[in-house]
């Protein structure tokens, strides 16, 4: 049976483009412009889904993007909102929450046993005995979801666009459109967004016939204006700081940055609460109007209108003109209405009952629709029906109007303080954040001409905020009856008077929750789950607040509202997900490392080889590390050190600047020498160390550790800006590559490419020279961090790979081996060097790490100096030492962070430990009590197994090698 009306002048469907689709195995016809719900309704299909908890049949409720019981699956896509999404020819739809089809859903038995499933039932019933919980959890989880998650869902990234405008307007109803025009006429740019397929807001269905020419004029003016960009079929998903609003369209997200924001998002119609108000055929008045004016569909054949405001009278007239047999208008208010529409209705033989209510709706067979309504007298103050006299009317539909809740989610997110206006029975903005304005119904303005004015008023305020000088606009306060009813609830002993259609929550659920003590709105929300379904309380929160207020005998404003968070509507993950913006930095020699089996690991942002496992090599990572370290000890090794921080410090005050920042002295440092530069924080804690090479009187080249390079550069910049010295900084970290060649053959290998005399007498440790290696300008340092003989080469990154490859080739006869960071850690441990940040922590001062030689306390100032003066007066409470385990030690090898135990008490901890293949001993670094600092002192380490392992303090592992 078709419910399609004859052509409506306002309709959105294109009758020249008919097509068909499939719903629950049935072929259904539609026109382009139909939503899934409107097409189904036009074909007489009333059961569009099953409710979440009780699996009750549901139809159209709002047609405003909160009919979340009518969710569809189409192949891969699930949770498609039937009430708003356009139907397409190739769709094969099934309702999501059914077992065996929407009409014969086998889970509908749950509705019959619902008295056994009160709210909070899950929390209480299944947690003991504990061993059964996994069984119940599985059952509940299967019952709880909507739709099936498809783990093979393709990754479809959607573009992210950015847009800027002077004023962003949310909602293209009469207020928003009027505001847009006012703003644009002053030469400002406007973006106006509406979630509906067409602009016009409520004028596209309410007063659609009277207001159509006014709307057409306005839309025409908007279209003519170059400054206005109108985006329909798109919703403002949230509000973020400084007026950043993501606009979500099917094709992707546009992030709009506006200078000012006008929220003209309107209001959601709220349902009155009575028994069986959820049956298919019972719908909001505005949903009935949407069906008629947008989709030319008759909402039902014969029905009643139940209303608690004057709006229902217009709905009734609309229904009459659509050919619906309207049996009665039932006004819940004691005084009824003084609306002139009453006479019009009487002319059309529609009975009007005041102080009455729909006591209950009687379901048709299998509870798939409406068969009768039961009407009783109603006491609106007590919210009780007088059931002595019942009128039963046979019908197939009910249109209901009880009031409005502002669509204020964005206003709340922006930080608006709302107040409850008792005249309007609505929350309205009381205090708006800077640059945010509200207009229209969301601002409590309902009368048509005033809504247009309110848009102009908000526009004027926004423009004045933006520095224009625009005359203010006066808007009249609301007059007459309230658009919303204070308590549109009809109690019923048998319940099923639904407040929240997402989560199947009835009036008694609130009463029970309050009895359990959950009588604060936030607690009640979580216990009952009201407003936690997919529509996020758009049609249920206001009634929930009213019910709680009545339970607690408090005014509504004392109850308050729950927090509104993004997103306004569910937003597909594909819209949010995008490319990863977590960059990795590759050194100039990265390619070589990969080709030669480098096992790359992250070191800060950089990727570095931990060790090399070339193709065909059968070593474990540890064996490879040991082999690499042995090569350095016996022949030569090379490591890519490009990740070191590299900073050039230039200017007449360069040395003075370094003295201010670092602990040591640099003013009298000779050109051609480097010194260790240790950085403290203001508390005197060791933060970083590196080398300060003096290349010219007024030019230093600093290195920092890999992970601290950004921090150190930042710190130096702040100091340079603050201290007033004549110095400038250049960060060369990425511009320069660096490598270290270490081992007995290191000098010989480099000599093939360099004319520098590398003999220890001519070029001792501490020397630095600007020279050429393989014809490339570079910096050459003799260092002693990983081996007694080692050279660091710093050169332009572009030449890094070439020089590295040449050195590798020339080094082959000498047994030159590339080594990774794991071998480097072992090598420095063999040399007895601690690493700041690895062996020290956020509390370690230099006295605890024997770093006194690096500190010049006699300088006038350096960062951390004043704190060191205080620390120096206090007794040392721990000290960092090198240690060795006994050669005959048995038991589990201790790990880093194992504790040092002294007489059963914790006395320190291991900071580094490793087996040295070169020394054939286990060596390490540990914090121990100060009295244990002397070589030869013994202490115990408790390993992971709980055994105590004896260790001996040594000066440095290098001495073990000499004595061996």
């Amino acid at each position: 049976m078709s419910s399609r009306l004859i052509n409506q002048p306002t309709e959105w469907i294109d009758r020249d483009k008919p097509f068909s689709f499939t719903y629950e195995g049935q072929k259904v016809t539609a026109f382009e412009g139909d939503t899934i719900s409107s097409a189904l309704w036009a074909n007489g299909i009333r059961v569009l889904g099953r409710s979440f908890k009780y699996h009750r049949a549901r139809g159209i409720l709002t047609l405003a993007n909160h009919d979340v019981n009518a969710l569809m699956t189409d192949g891969l896509d699930t949770n498609i909102r039937a009430d708003v999404l356009p139907v397409q020819a190739d769709m094969t739809l099934t309702a999501v929450n059914t077992t065996g089809g929407v009409l014969k859903d086998r889970s509908q038995f749950i509705d019959k046993i619902s008295p056994l499933l009160p709210v909070g039932f899950y929390y209480k019933a299944f947690h003991t005995p504990r061993r059964f919980f996994p069984f119940w959890e599985d059952k509940i989880r299967k019952a709880a979801g909507l739709g099936e998650v498809n783990f093979n869902y393709p990754r479809i990234p959607k573009p992210k666009q950015h847009a800027h405008c002077d004023v962003l307007i949310i909602g293209a109803g009469i207020s928003g459109l009027s505001a847009a025009l006012s703003v644009a006429e002053q030469g400002l740019s406007v973006i106006i967004v509406d979630e509906n397929a067409k602009a016009g807001g409520s004028l596209t269905y309410d007063m659609a016939d009277q207001a159509s020419s006014q709307l057409a004029e306005l839309l025409n003016a908007i279209e003519q204006h170059d400054n206005i960009r109108l985006i329909t079929n798109a919703y403002a998903a949230g509000y973020y700081a400084d007026h950043l609003v993501p606009i979500v369209e099917t094709s992707g997200i546009t992030k709009v940055r506006a200078k000012a924001l006008i929220v003209a998002s309107g209001a959601f119609e709220q349902p009155p609460v009575f028994r069986n108000n959820d049956l298919p055929g019972v719908m909001m008045g505005s949903a009935a109007q949407r069906l008629i004016y947008r989709y030319a569909v008759k909402p039902f054949e014969k029905g009643v209108v139940v209303t608690a405001n004057d709006y229902g009278y217009r709905t009734a007239l609309d229904l009459v003109s659509a050919g619906v047999d309207v049996l009665a208008v039932i006004d819940m208010r004691r005084e009824g209405s003084r609306s002139p529409l009453i006479d019009e209705l009487k002319d059309k033989q529609v009975a009007v009952h005041k102080a009455s209510c729909v006591y209950e709706v009687i379901a048709s067979k299998h509870k798939l629709g409406v068969s009768e309504v039961v009407i009783c007298a109603y006491d609106e103050l007590m919210a009780e029906a007088d059931t002595k006299n019942k009128i039963r009317l046979k019908c197939d539909g009910v249109a209901m109007s009880a009031g409005w809740a502002p669509a204020a989610a964005l206003l709340y997110q922006a930080g608006t303080k709302m107040r409850f206006d008792s005249g309007l029975q609505q929350f309205v903005p009381a205090e708006l954040p800077e640059g945010v304005f509200a207009a229209g119904k969301v601002n409590g303005v309902f009368e048509l001409s005033q809504r247009a004015l309110d848009g102009q008023r908000a526009a004027a305020e926004a423009m004045n905020y933006l520095g224009k000088s625009v005359a203010t606009v006066e808007v009249k306060q609301h007059q007459g009856t309230s658009p919303s009813h204070a308590y549109p609830v009809v109690n019923h002993p048998k319940g099923k008077n639904f407040v929240d259609f997402d989560e199947d929550i009835q009036v008694k659920d609130f009463i029970n929750a309050a009895k359990e003590g959950f009588d604060n709105i936030e607690l009640m929300k979580r216990f009952t789950t009201v407003g936690m379904g997919p529509s996020q309380g758009k049609h249920s929160n206001m009634n929930a607040i009213r019910i709680l207020a009545r339970i607690r005998d408090l005014p509504v404003e004392k109850i308050g509202t729950t927090t509104a968070r993004p997103f306004f509507h569910p937003t597909p993950i594909g819209h949010l997900g995008g490319r990863g913006f977590h960059p990795h930095r590759y050194t100039a020699m990265h390619e070589w490392h990969i080709e030669n089996g480098g096992q790359m690991t992250a070191a800060g942002l950089w990727m570095r080889p931990a060790c090399y496992l070339p193709e065909g090599c059968h070593l474990t990572a540890q064996q490879a590390t040991h082999q690499e370290a042995m090569a350095v000890r016996t022949k030569a090794g090379i490591i890519d050190n490009s990740t070191l921080g590299k900073i050039e410090v230039y200017g007449p005050d360069a040395a003075a600047f370094l003295e201010r920042v670092y602990t040591g002295k640099f003013v009298r440092q000779k050109v051609g020498q480097y010194r260790i530069a240790m950085l403290l924080d203001e508390a005197g804690v060791m933060v970083d160390d590196g080398l300060a090479c003096r290349l010219e009187e007024d030019r230093f080249y600093l290195t920092t550790s890999t992970t601290n390079s950004a921090m150190v550069y930042r710190q130096l910049q702040r100091e340079a800006q603050l201290c007033g010295l004549s110095v400038s900084l250049a960060n060369l970290t990425g511009a320069k590559a660096a490598m270290t060649i270490a081992g007995p053959a290191a000098a010989e290998i480099i000599s093939q490419f360099s004319s520098v005399d590398l003999a220890a007498t001519a070029f001792p440790t501490g020397s630095v020279v600007e020279t050429q290696i393989a014809d490339i300008e570079c910096l050459l340092l003799r260092v002693a961090f990983v081996a007694e003989q080692a050279f660091e080469i710093h050169l332009p990154a572009a030449a890094g790979l070439s020089v590295w490859s040449q050195l590798m080739q020339a080094g082959q006869p000498f047994g030159l081996q590339a080594y990774g960071t794991d071998a480097q850690r072992l090598l420095r441990l063999e040399m007895g060097h601690h690493l700041i940040g690895h062996d020290t922590d956020g509390l370690t001062n230099p006295f605890e790490a024997h770093a006194e030689p690096l500190i010049a306390m006699d300088k006038t100032f350096f960062t951390g100096q004043r704190s060191l003066q205080i620390i120096a007066k206090k007794p040392l409470n721990k000290t960092l030492v090198n240690f060795v385990l006994d050669s005959n030690c048995v038991g589990e090898l201790p790990n880093e962070c194992n504790l040092v135990i002294d007489n059963g008490d914790i006395a320190g901890r291991i900071t580094s430990i490793a087996f040295s293949p070169y020394l054939q001993r286990v060596i390490g670094i540990a914090f121990v009590p100060p009295e244990k600092h002397l070589p030869g002192s013994r202490f115990d380490i408790r390993n992971d197994a709980g055994d105590l392992i004896a260790a001996t303090v040594i000066q440095s592992p290098t001495e073990l090698a000499k004595s061996a």
């Binding site: 700081a241 940055r257 508390a683 800006q721 400038s728």
Partner: protein, 88 residues
């Protein structure tokens, strides 16, 4: 995302900035007591309200002061410290 006014580069998105801690005036290390110095180094006012803060514009390496109300997260003013000469 928030916007922040860099005194050198103008209004830029917050992702270009890094927070550098509360701005505090260093007492004279030579004349202050140990207690005064320890208070300067270790104590931070966690109370919400009007704060002077260090901010760093990362792409250009600019340090500046932002005066921010941490209750409203509103920045009333940003500026280079008067003595600060931007290193060129």
């Amino acid at each position: 995302m928030k916007l922040l006014q860099c005194p050198v580069n103008g209004i830029r998105p917050l992702s270009e900035f890094s927070y550098g801690g509360e701005f505090r005036t260093m007492p004279d290390p030579d004349s202050c007591t140990d207690q005064q110095w320890a208070a300067y180094v270790h104590y931070r006012s966690g109370a919400p309200g009007y704060k002077k803060e260090w901010w760093y514009h990362m792409p250009s390496g600019t340090w500046f002061i932002a005066e921010r109300n941490t209750i409203t997260d509103k920045v009333s003013r940003t500026y280079l410290l008067p003595k600060m000469e931007v290193a060129v």
